[in-house]
C-alpha cells in the first residue's frame, strides 16, 4: 500500500479527484478527517444514530464533490462546509418528514417553545446550553455551534456558510441578544 500520510490535504484531494471510489487517496482523506467530521455531525444532529448517518452522508457527498475543491480556503474549512450543509439538509428533510407523518408536530413544537419562555424552564435551559439552541433557526444553530463548540474564526465561518465575515459577526451578535432575551423572559 502506498504511504500517502506525508501528502497534504490539497495534494490528497487532487489525487482523489483522479481516482475511483475505492482509491487510496480518498480513503486516506476519510481516515484523516473522520474525527472532526464526526464531532460536527454529532453536534449538529444531536443523536448517535443521526450523527453516524450524517457522517457517512458527508463522505458520500465529499466523494461526488472531490474534484470541486478550488483551494480558496483550507481544505478542512471546505470539508467542514460540506459537513454543515449535509447536516442542515438532513435535519430539514427529517423535520419535513416528521411534519408529514405527524401533522400535529407543529402544535407540539409551539408548546415546547412556550415552555422555554417559562421562568423555571429558562433557568433549566441556562444549565443545559444545548437546549437553549433548540429555539434557534437551523442555520443560526449551526453557526453558533461552529463558532463556539468547534472554535472556527469568522473568516472560516464566512467560507463555511458562504456569507461575509461581517455578516457572521452580526448574526452571532443577534443570536446572543435573542438567547439573552429568552433567558430573561419571565
Amino acid at each position: 500500500m502506498d504511504d500517502l500520510s506525508a501528502l497534504t490535504d490539497t495534494e490528497l484531494a487532487a489525487q482523489a479527484a483522479r481516482e475511483g471510489s475505492d482509491g487510496i487517496a480518498f480513503t486516506t482523506l476519510m481516515d484523516r478527517h473522520r474525527e472532526r467530521v464526526w464531532r460536527i455531525c454529532w453536534r449538529l444532529m444531536g443523536t448517535q444514530h443521526d450523527a453516524e448517518d450524517a457522517a457517512q452522508e458527508v463522505f458520500v457527498r465529499l466523494f461526488f464533490d472531490r474534484g470541486k475543491f478550488a483551494g480558496r480556503s483550507a481544505y478542512t474549512t471546505w470539508l467542514h462546509g460540506v459537513a454543515v450543509r449535509t447536516c442542515l439538509t438532513l435535519r430539514r428533510s427529517r423535520t419535513r418528514r416528521r411534519r408529514r407523518e405527524e401533522p400535529d408536530v407543529d402544535e407540539r413544537i409551539a408548546t415546547a417553545a412556550d415552555t422555554t419562555t417559562h421562568p423555571s424552564a429558562a433557568i433549566d435551559a441556562s444549565h443545559d446550553v444545548t437546549a437553549l439552541l433548540d429555539g434557534l433557526d437551523e442555520e443560526d444553530r449551526a453557526l453558533v455551534l461552529m463558532r463556539f463548540a468547534e472554535g472556527h474564526d469568522y473568516d472560516q465561518l464566512a467560507e463555511i456558510f458562504d456569507i461575509s465575515a461581517g455578516a457572521c459577526r452580526m448574526r452571532i451578535s443577534r443570536i446572543r441578544e435573542k438567547l439573552a432575551a429568552t433567558r430573561k423572559t419571565p
Binding site: 457517512q56 458520500v60 463556539f148 446572543r176 438567547l179
Partner: protein, 84 residues
C-alpha cells in the same frame, strides 16, 4: 458577560461521544455510495446510448417524420446494382 457566564462559551465543554471506528464508517459510506454510483452509471449509459441512437438513426427518423407530414417516402438515389 464573562466567558464563565456566557452559555455559548460553554458549548465547547459539551462532551462528544467517541468517533465510530474507521471500518464501520467505511462500510457505511460504501453501502450508501455503491447504489448511487450504480444509478449514476446507468443514467450516464442511458443518456450516452440515447444520443448515439439519435445520431445513428437521424436519417431514418427524419424520413419517418417526412412521411408523416407528406405521405411520401423521400426518394433514395439508386445504387449502381439496380441500374439496367
Amino acid at each position: 458577560m464573562s466567558p464563565e457566564q456566557d452559555p455559548l462559551e460553554q458549548l465547547a465543554n459539551v462532551t462528544v461521544p467517541p468517533v465510530p471506528d474507521a471500518a464501520t464508517l467505511r462500510t457505511g459510506v460504501r453501502r450508501k455510495l455503491n447504489p448511487r454510483l450504480l444509478a449514476l452509471h446507468v443514467i450516464e449509459f442511458a443518456i450516452g446510448a440515447t444520443a448515439w441512437a439519435v445520431v445513428h438513426m437521424a436519417a431514418a427518423l427524419a424520413a419517418a417524420l417526412r412521411y408523416t407530414v407528406t405521405g411520401r417516402w423521400p426518394e433514395r438515389p439508386k445504387s449502381d446494382d439496380s441500374r439496367p
